[in-house]
């Protein structure tokens, strides 16, 4: 057994998994509260990457240092994605509350297409280069060939934001209200929780994390176009289901699990069937453990 290769693949999977996890949280939170597969969530991630690119481009002209640019790009991308997430909910989902189940799903697919074409028209359909904003740290040089500085930043940033989110959900008043709404929206409303506000907050948090992921992965892969959201979105959604949709720690675990599986499958078998592995894993999981790794099996009430 070639241990170095094994570890390399593991670290590669970790980076990829962290990104999936960041996006998956948005899916899982929205699903937990309004039981909607928000297809347009991947597009929010893509918008985050584009906003980051624009900020980086403008600041780059004025010669700011790379690290300041990275911070500003992340902050502004988060701000804008939160705003987009909030608006999207108000326009495309809120008027549909109480409609048949499939209607919000179609609305979400429409929204996803809309945002993709919005970027094509307002920006471009070509691939754009994204500047490298994370410098090569010197202390990483000895292992740079298997785990670079960018990978480190991505893993650390996602870990930190996930811990912060977990604490927020567990201990703050708003977090508790969110959990209550997810469990039983009517009951929560009776207890004086403003459900509309909670739903908006959910979209804002989910979108912010997607924006963070969008900026980080773009500086890692060095390019972006309008389609990156769709592919990442489908994968992240798979991750959310693997972990147990509705569960936030589940989304993190699911993301890592998916990232590692893809990495090892590509490394030891072939990357030709990379996506087939991901989807087969999903199908197998759903058949044998439909509630995911951490999700609770729903009790059927009669």
């Amino acid at each position: 057994m070639d241990w170095e290769f094994f570890i390399e693949l593991g670290l590669g999977g970790l980076t990829r998994g962290s990104i999936y996890a960041l996006i998956a949280i948005g899916y899982t939170m929205v699903y937990g509260i309004i039981e909607l597969i928000n297809f347009a969530h991947g597009e929010i991630y893509m918008l985050g990457a584009f906003t980051g690119l624009i900020v980086a481009g403008v600041m780059g002209i004025y010669g700011f240092p790379a690290f300041a640019i990275l911070l500003m790009a992340i902050v502004i991308a988060i701000l804008y994605c939160a705003a987009y997430g909030y608006t999207m909910e108000k326009v495309a989902y809120k008027p549909l509350r109480g409609a048949a189940r499939l209607s919000p799903l179609i609305s979400a697919i429409g929204m996803s297409l809309f945002l993709q074409n919005y970027i094509i028209l307002a920006q471009t359909s070509d691939f754009l280069p994204f500047p490298t904003l994370i410098p090569d740290f010197e202390f990483m040089e000895p292992i740079a060939h298997i785990f670079g500085s960018t990978d480190l930043v991505i893993v650390v940033a996602s870990a930190v934001s996930m811990v912060a989110l977990t604490l927020f959900i567990k201990f703050t008043k708003l977090g508790k209200a969110m959990r209550a709404t997810a469990q039983n929206r009517k009951m929560a409303m009776l207890l004086g929780i403003n459900a509309d506000k909670i739903i908006s907050t959910t979209f804002i948090i989910g979108s912010s994390l997607a924006a963070l992921g969008g900026v980080l992965i773009s500086t890692h892969s060095g390019q972006l176009n309008f389609m990156i959201g769709f592919i990442a979105g489908v994968k992240a959604f798979t991750a959310a289901v693997l972990g147990g949709i509705g569960s936030i720690p589940g989304a993190m675990l699911g993301g890592l699990f998916l990232g590692l599986t893809e990495s090892y499958a590509a490394g030891y078998i072939s990357s030709d069937y990379e996506d087939v592995f991901a989807f087969s894993l999903l199908v197998i999981f759903l058949i044998f453990r439909p509630s995911g790794i951490l999700g609770k099996a729903p009790v059927e009430k009669v």
């Binding site: 070639d2 290769f5 390399e8 693949l9 590669g12 999977g13 980076t15 990829r16 990104i19 359909s125 070509d126 691939f127 754009l128 280069p129 490298t132 740079a144 060939h145 298997i146 670079g148 960018t150 992965i217 890692h220 892969s221 060095g222 390019q223 176009n225 309008f226 389609m227 990156i228 769709f230 592919i231 990442a232 893809e262 990495s263 090892y264 590509a266 490394g267 072939s270 990357s271 030709d272 990379e274 996506d275």
Partner: protein, 373 residues
């Protein structure tokens, strides 16, 4: 209004629209331009539209072809086969005399049976799939670009003889073009017996990173990577290879020989080899074509522009020489007489491939592709 009335009025409306397009107007020569003009592959298709506009404007300004003005019928197929058949039928029914296109091999394959049936010459500046000409199924097809197997042959010979490659990793983007190129490359390497293929794999376009594949390149100690596909994935692979301190040579195809590749990959692009059409930038006609584009659109032309310009010129010249738009007459002229184009003096062989066009190898040096002699 009843339901049927509604439908009827819609359909009548459509029918009227359809009939408004004159079925045949003998006083103009109609050239169809088909390819991806929207969607993610638009950057490959739009330069061809520009080329057609430049050529036609020049010809029309000079009085047209034997007194007839040339008219363009521009149709978007988004490089999708099902759209391509719609576009092809539309061009046939709109009375196009020749077609410049299509851009992607898949869409071209879908459209060609319709042109074959309608006896309509289609000339592509970019569809490089070998089967299009070598199968003999499509007698009306011509192209002003060499086919993939020629490129793969060049890439493999270059890697083994010039770069001394012994262990080659062959990668592709799972697409029609990229996988075709990679399969030819593998075949040529194995037939030659001077080097071995240590890995043969496809990467998924749009995946967040290719680290697993890149780690494998290291693991198999490949000294050269031959990649078939387009530039977005190529720049991602090269960047990740360099980030992971892998120094293997990177040899690729015409899809990567695009200035966008250098822009996106930045300093990581340095030293990358890619094959592309022979450098013709010293030909006066090439310079003239570029200048005309800059004058008309205010920018440098994009991919396949010279080849598209050449195709437009070749077809229209053949019509002029034949003094007719008759299929047999025009085809005979295309096959028998040389024509001056921005890509050189060309004529076409029986299968439809251009004689006189070929590939040479380029390398990125100081942020520019430089032809290696």
């Amino acid at each position: 209004m009843t339901f049927s009335g509604l439908v009827k009025s819609i359909i009548t409306g459509l029918a009227v629209t359809a009939m408004c397009v004159p079925a045949f107007a003998a006083d103009t020569i109609k050239m169809g331009v088909a390819g991806a003009h929207s969607g993610d592959l638009a950057s490959y298709g739009l330069p061809t539209v520009n080329a057609a506009k430049v050529v036609v404007e020049k010809i029309n300004a000079a009085g047209g072809i034997n007194g007839k003005q040339v008219e363009l019928l521009i149709q978007d197929d988004q490089c999708k086969p099902e759209q391509a058949t719609n576009v092809a039928t539309k061009l046939v029914s709109d009375g196009a005399n020749v077609v410049l296109g299509h851009i992607c091999s898949g869409a071209t394959k879908a459209a060609l049976p319709i042109y074959t049936e309608g006896k309509l010459i289609a000339m592509s500046p970019s569809a490089t799939n070998p089967m299009l000409t070598q199968s003999g199924d499509y007698p009306t097809f011509f192209r002003t670009i060499a086919s993939d197997d020629m490129q793969a042959r060049l890439g493999v010979d270059f890697a083994i003889e010039k770069l001394g490659a012994k262990k080659i990793a062959v990668l592709h983007d799972k697409g029609d073009y990229g996988k075709g190129y990679a399969e030819f490359a593998r075949k040529f390497i194995e037939e030659g017996g001077k080097a071995e293929v240590v890995m043969f794999e496809g990467v998924t376009p749009g995946a967040p990173d290719y680290s697993a594949v890149v780690q494998k390149i290291r693991r198999f100690k490949a000294d050269t990577v031959i990649y078939g596909g387009y530039h977005p994935e190529a720049s991602k692979i090269v960047s990740q290879m360099r980030k992971k301190r892998i120094k293997a040579n990177f040899v690729s195809d015409d899809g990567v020989k695009d200035d966008t590749f250098i822009k996106v990959a930045g300093k990581n692009a340095e030293g990358v080899y890619a094959s592309g059409p022979i450098d013709v930038s010293n030909l006066p006609m090439y310079k003239e074509a570029i200048a005309a584009h800059v004058k008309m659109f205010g920018s440098e032309p994009g991919a396949f522009y010279p080849a598209a310009y050449a195709a437009a010129v070749a077809m229209l010249t053949a019509i002029e020489r034949a003094d007719s738009t008759d299929y047999d007459a025009v085809t005979a002229k295309l096959r028998s007489e040389f024509v001056d184009t921005p890509v050189g003096k060309i004529k076409f062989n029986e299968k439809g491939d251009a004689e006189g066009v070929g590939f040479s190898m380029y390398q990125v040096q100081n942020g520019k592709y430089v032809e290696l002699k």
